[in-house]
């Protein structure tokens, strides 16, 4: 249960962080022509972030409850009474409270500034979203080791930018029939996503080497199975990313309005995002399963 609670919390947090980053750093700074549906897009992105933040808060509570059950060895109902002790007396509880405060600040920022209408405000919101995501590194396997925590933080950061950015990109593509705008946004995100994917691969390998220095340690263990599952899904997502970048994107230039390549790109981006979501869910199991102990 704690794996599901953490996995869904990771998905929600990554959605918020990535969508805010997309709005601040990927979308062109100057409003696109009215035909691009920029007003609709800003509103849709605000609703996406609000949904993600609500899901982040709900899943954070479930995660806390599941953690209290796991820590105390008590069933869910009884574990509710242990939650104050978890919050006050454990490292996990302290990080959880700090993250709750960050969530509240972010919710406040987005409420008084909805949708964010300046580059600076978008940037501040994005920083809070990314901090909320990266802080998860302080609660998992890496919590005992500062270097491991740094690598895990970088891993989470890149994953969030990729995952949340994909959902935001889908909205950006749906918002417009302007193929120039669609091409520009997709290309900008493509460069960032390529970098993020590289970081995910390198930091993921480093994380795996820390917990299982020999490949043989992954075979026949739950931890290894989840890690191999993540790797297979990662490879599948890369195939969709490559098709989007080098298949559909060049064909956008030859279209006007939301043509075949444009709509195919929207579908393919959504598929890639769903695969990445499955990876994040599996990450919940990796983070809560004991690594091989050699």
């Amino acid at each position: 249960m704690i794996a599901l609670a953490f996995g869904t919390h990771l998905i929600a947090t990554a959605l918020v962080a990535g969508a805010l980053f997309f709005a601040a750093a990927i979308l062109p700074g100057h409003p696109a022509p009215a035909a691009s549906g920029r007003e609709w897009l800003d509103d849709a992105l605000a609703r996406l972030v609000a949904f993600g933040l609500g899901a982040t808060a709900i899943t954070a509570l479930l995660w806390l409850w599941a953690a209290a059950s796991e820590m105390s060895g008590q069933a869910w109902i009884q574990a509710a009474s242990v939650i104050p002790k978890v919050l006050i007396a454990t490292h996990f509880g302290h990080v959880w409270l700090a993250r709750l405060a960050a969530m509240a600040v972010l919710a406040g920022l987005l409420t008084v500034n909805r949708p964010p209408n300046s580059r600076l405000r978008k940037g501040i919101a994005a920083v809070f979203g990314l901090v909320l995501l990266v802080s998860l590194a302080a609660t998992g396997h890496a919590a005992n080791d500062s270097r491991g925590m740094l690598v895990q933080g970088v891993h989470l950061l890149a994953a969030g930018i990729w995952f949340g950015g994909l959902w935001a990109l889908r909205l950006a593509l749906l918002s417009t029939g302007d193929t120039g705008f669609a091409h520009r946004v997709t290309e900008r995100f493509g460069f960032v996503a390529l970098f993020a994917v590289g970081v995910i691969a390198v930091s993921g390998v480093l994380n795996a080497l820390v917990h299982a220095p020999h490949a043989s340690m992954l075979l026949g263990t739950d931890y290894g199975g989840f890690l191999i599952g993540k790797t297979v899904l990662f490879a599948a997502a890369l195939i969709f990313a490559a098709v989007n970048r080098w298949g559909f994107l060049p064909r956008l230039a030859g279209e006007s309005g939301q043509g075949y390549a444009h709509l195919s790109l929207v579908r393919s981006v959504a598929t890639e995002a769903i695969i990445v979501m499955m990876i994040l869910l599996l990450a919940g199991f990796v983070a809560t399963t004991p690594p091989p102990h050699g």
């Binding site: 796991e70 060895g73 490292h91 005992n144 080791d145 270097r147 590289g198 390198v202």
Partner: protein
């Protein structure tokens, strides 16, 4: 656009933070005193368990029972204040027999592990620890 130099710099930065001493994650029993499965001739004053990770004292427990399941510890199991990887508990004077040490710990990475082991106090040679 990302330059090749940027990618290389990023890789170096990430690689530089990794050393040979990674965290194993989850607290596993590293060693114990009395040792796992050992036989002692002196009734130990306490049981000490060292783990591979730092422990959360709020949810880390330790107790010792005799062959009949009766508690023989002092009920003061705690994480050592100066060494967060050490869990210790005092013992009453033990008579010859087999004793079981039962532990359940929470490491700071918020994961629990549990286990148990036995040690023997040998008959005929028992004397109180100094």
């Amino acid at each position: 656009m990302i330059s090749k130099r940027g990618v290389v710099a990023m890789l170096i930065a990430v690689l530089s933070v990794i050393g040979a001493n990674g965290a194993s994650a989850h607290a596993f029993l590293d060693r114990a005193d009395p040792a796992v499965g050992s036989a002692v001739t002196v009734s130990p004053k306490e049981v000490r368990l060292w783990f591979t990770e730092e422990l959360e004292s709020a949810f880390s427990t330790l107790h010792v029972v005799d062959g009949a399941g009766h508690t023989v510890d002092g009920g003061d199991g705690r994480v050592d204040a100066s060494n967060p990887t050490l869990l210790r508990i005092s013992l009453r004077a033990l008579s010859p027999g087999t004793y079981r040490v039962i532990w359940r710990v929470l490491s700071v990475d918020s994961h629990t592990t549990e286990g148990d082991f036995t040690f023997d106090v040998k008959a005929g040679e028992v004397k109180a620890a100094p």
